[in-house]
């Protein structure tokens, strides 16, 4: 009788230990996996936001050219020079002039730190003297840099 009672106690203890071990391992694995996902997500979000904040693109010069004046292209255009004064490279994906009618998209225009990039309209852009022109530059990370210049 005593031996049988002892056996059930051993089995019960073994079951308890197994249950604790299984539950504990599951909990630890689950939490590790979840926290790893959160860590990755946090690192990615933080990194992309940090990089976006660190982007420092300057619309350094805007030149205007008139087709009937001194313009070599034969149509009105503007010449935008962008300078990257930040410490990370960036990729220009879009240049928008004034409104949605004049949107120019790019697939690969990287500008390294300390470098610049000049762009001219390949099609006619009818700017008018004395009227302000809004310029919106979008980068691959989603930053938008704007400026306003008055045509001469």
């Amino acid at each position: 009788m005593q031996t049988q009672r002892g056996l059930s106690t051993v089995v019960a203890t073994a079951l308890m230990l197994s249950a604790v071990a299984v539950l504990g391992t599951t909990l630890v694995l689950w939490s590790t996996s979840n926290l790893r996902v959160y860590e990755t997500s946090l690192a990615t979000t933080s990194s992309s936001n940090t990089n976006r904040i660190n982007e420092f693109l300057v619309i350094e010069n805007v030149g205007f050219c008139k087709a009937n004046g001194n313009c070599l292209k034969g149509h009105n255009y503007i010449n935008i020079t962008l300078a990257n004064y930040g410490n990370i490279g960036l990729n220009v994906t879009q240049i928008k002039l004034n409104d949605s009618r004049y949107v120019y998209t790019f697939t690969n225009v990287p500008i390294s730190p300390g470098k610049e990039y000049s762009w001219k309209n390949s099609t006619n852009y009818p700017w008018s003297s004395g009227k302000p022109q809004k310029i919106f530059i979008t980068t691959g990370r989603g930053s938008i840099f704007t400026t306003q210049v008055t045509a001469p």
């Binding site: 203890t13 230990l17 504990g24 630890v28 940090t50 010069n61 001194n70 004064y85």
Partner: protein
């Protein structure tokens, strides 16, 4: 029995400690990431504040040795780094070029001879008209136009003092005032006056003694007036008049001023 009961507690505690360590690790990692992000935000804010504090002004701009000679003053309380000088020549097709400057200017300091070391020559006697822009590493810029007075008509006056002479052989003064009436930051260069030969009635005459004084104004900023002076001797008989016109060399031909001096 006692030792077996304690075993499951110990095992549970071990797992609890592992879970706690993982949680603490995650929290520490998150705090570090947030701290780094915070540092970046603070740095960016400081950069934006510095950008607003940066302030530099044009002191003068001339053409020396056929090159631009620009002087700027850092009027802010931060050092600035002038990186490039952009020059657009309005009289040449599609001519926009930039030249590297890369010079630091301390707060309150003056930077001279900007443009003297760049490979761009300018003929002051030509009718050239330029747009000049100096840019800094913080993205600010100083922009102004510079060129001959032959682009837009200027406000000008010519006056004899006195313009009526009671006696013959009187010494008179001729003043020529030219105002740069441009509303934008427009610097005119090489302002030199020229007078027509006097046209007189009867026996009237105007004999030049001295002038113009000064011979020229190297630059004339927006809103400023250049004053040139001549001295003449006016002679003649009663009712005689002398008429003279003044204009600017390299100026617009139709932009001139005139005045008459007469004997009663």
């Amino acid at each position: 029995m006692r030792s077996r009961k304690g075993l499951s507690t110990v095992v549970g505690m071990v797992f609890a400690l592992i879970a706690l360590a993982i949680s603490v690790g995650y929290i520490t990692y998150s705090m570090n990431i947030l701290d780094q992000y915070n540092q970046v935000v603070i740095a960016k804010s400081q950069q934006t504040i510095d950008n607003g504090k940066e302030n530099f002004q044009l002191y003068t701009s001339t053409i020396k040795n056929n090159k631009f000679n620009v002087t700027v003053i850092n009027t802010g309380n931060l050092p600035i780094n002038i990186t490039r000088m952009w020059v657009q020549n309005y009289s040449v097709s599609d001519s926009v070029n930039y030249y590297t400057i890369n010079t630091l200017v301390s707060p309150g300091a003056t930077m001279i001879n900007i443009g003297q070391n760049i490979p761009l020559t300018v003929n002051p006697a030509s009718n050239g008209y330029y747009n000049i822009k100096l840019t800094t590493t913080r993205g600010n810029s100083l922009q102004f136009n510079m060129g001959s007075p032959g682009v837009k008509p200027l406000f000008m006056q010519l006056m004899f003092l006195p313009n009526k002479s009671s006696v013959t052989g009187l010494n008179v003064t001729l003043l020529y005032l030219v105002t740069n009436n441009s509303t934008s930051n427009n610097l005119l260069t090489n302002i030199q006056p020229q007078l027509s030969s006097p046209v007189c009635t009867g026996t009237g005459s105007l004999t030049s003694l001295v002038g113009p004084v000064p011979a020229q104004y190297p630059t004339l900023p927006s809103g400023s007036t250049a004053i040139f002076k001549w001295n003449y001797v006016f002679g003649g008989a009663a009712t005689n008049k002398c008429y003279i016109t003044a204009s600017l060399k390299n100026g617009i031909a139709s932009n001139f001023a005139y005045d008459t001096i007469s004997l009663p």
